[in-house]
Symmetry: C2
Subunit: 340 residues, 2 copies
């Protein structure tokens, strides 16, 4: 087991759904990690592998390439193209992380200083571009123009989601509709494309490709809603040490949007001040949590997430029962379980 | 004629080789411009077309898409796939310009303030990513996996060239070899891919595809050498108002590398101070020009460029004589003529 795989294993609890799914695709995943490391090399310069290794060496759960591998296997695939495809999917993800950190001016990623704080903005922008280019080179190796269509479409949607977030993240008037567009872009589009393209390289029939696309989309939407909920301490609203970031940055995530929609004039004025104008004083986060609880915003955010979890599970009904299908269905619960 | 086409026409002298080639592909080029404008639209946000229009509206000679169109026509192509392909090529170029301006902290591009000074770094990074994603969506529409291979390979080489330049641009020890790698990456790789992919969508035989790849590469190398020479006033070293930028930024371009290689100890110490350490005083640019003339560095840089011009012309010998072949051959002279 290589270092990256060891980190994934370490990050996970011993017998949860994530580990069960990872175990089923473990051999494939080792090949994906080897592929990613090999493709970071550059004939011309050592800076690219340095920056990329800083990000990739920090670990992460590799959920997106796992989706690709699992989807291909679920469709009975026994070839090799899903390995380079999964490496391509993870490279797109890593490219967006490098650029996101520059755009958001983030200081930490996966528990360590972000690449742009260590190497500067220039290498982060350029190495992000490099990973993006490499991911398309990897996709070309699958030989499938359909795969390239799905993933280049996803790449455009991802960036559109980020631009939309740049314009709309403090805007309380957009409501759930804009919020869903943003999270489909920033998270669900790549989950969806990862699972869908896995089915495609397997040569699966259209109905199965569509089912896995729906599964990936539902999983991604649930994942991001839960992420946003966790920033307010989850459904039980017990704020952890890293929570409250979205509040401080004035992000109009789902809990806030639900509370805003249900709030009286005094509450709406509060949300406009702390989110839209980002004028925050000591005690505001506590007051926000108080309103969120009073308006059932945290519980209902969780309910929304569970709706998507259910949608993910049902999408897999297109496949006959198997240990793999069961592990993929349970992954949806795992995504939501983080918030309990 | 739309606005962009009008700007190109305006920028050009009335009857030179550039105009002759542009006239041959004028109808195609109008379609390319319309395609580019249409693909800048985004369902979600107005920021993307705004930023993209700022860059694209500034004009530029569109040399790369012209190469794609001309190459396809030279191979006898009568279909439509070269239009989206040329739009893809120009979108890759525009994506790299947006990111370059962020990385280089440039203040001006095509005579107007750069996008990142008007809109900020975040939109420039993200809209660059968007144009990159769009370019791959356009390539997918050609249906050719070979085209996608050539252009994703080129994209990787472009970024590697920029990273290499980041690391090596003030390094006098790399000499002509590293310099050629950098300019192949930053300029010639996309010229080459633009012409090569044009031949590919036309379904041209391997020898013609290779000939057009060689033509594009030679044209791109000549173009960049001449650009670097112009920064010292061209072969006649009559410094224009925008010249001297590379010197002030401490870039080890070909004229400097040739002079450094031929210099005595005193001259080498001068170049190390002004280029590698970037310690510059009033009068240094004049002294640099004096040394460059004395060491024949400007004339020999021009001779190198003319060698590549000749290589570009000869590559076209793979095709029977025609007005188009002649215009493409003359384009190589045009590229070099800028420096006389």
């Amino acid at each position: 087991m290589n270092q990256a795989a060891a980190k994934i294993a370490e990050a996970a609890a011993p017998d949860g759904p994530y580990e069960r799914l990872l175990a089923i695709v473990a051999d494939d995943m080792e090949r994906v990690n080897a592929e990613i490391l090999a493709r970071m090399q550059s004939e011309h310069t050592t800076l690219i592998p340095q920056v990329a290794a800083h990000l990739i060496g920090a670990g992460g759960k590799r959920i997106r390439p796992i989706l690709t591998l699992a989807a291909a296997r679920l469709c009975g695939y026994e070839g090799r193209a899903h390995i380079v495809l999964a490496a391509a999917v993870e490279s797109i993800h890593n490219a967006t992380l490098l650029h996101d950190d520059v755009v958001d001016e983030s200081g930490k990623r996966r528990g360590r200083p972000t690449a742009h704080t260590v190497f500067g903005n220039k290498p982060s922008v350029l190495v992000g571009d490099f990973l993006f280019a490499r991911s398309f080179q990897l996709m070309v190796e699958t030989g499938s123009i359909d795969v390239l269509r799905v993933l280049s479409d996803a790449a455009a949607v991802i960036v559109e989601g980020e631009v939309l977030q740049l314009a709309a993240e403090r805007d309380l008037s957009g409501g759930e509709e804009i919020y869903l567009k943003v999270i489909r872009g920033k998270t669900a589009a790549l989950f969806e494309a990862a699972a869908q393209a896995g089915a495609m390289v397997a040569g699966a029939p259209e109905a199965q490709v569509a089912a896995l696309a729906a599964y990936g989309d539902a999983l991604g939407v649930a994942f991001q809603i839960v992420d946003d909920l966790l920033d307010y301490g989850g459904a039980a609203s017990t704020i952890g040490k890293n929570a409250g970031d979205d509040f401080r940055e004035g992000k109009a995530t789902l809990p806030v949007l639900l509370a805003f929609a249900r709030g009286d004039e005094r509450e709406r004025a509060f949300w406009r001040r702390v989110i839209e104008r980002r004028e925050q004083h000591p005690g505001d986060l506590d007051q926000a949590l108080d309103i969120l609880r009073r308006r059932d915003a945290l519980a209902d955010t969780m309910a929304r997430a569970l709706g998507h979890v259910d949608r993910a599970r049902r999408a897999l009904d297109a496949f006959p029962p198997s240990a793999l299908r069961s592990a993929m269905a349970d992954m949806a619960d795992f995504v939501a379980s983080r918030a309990h």
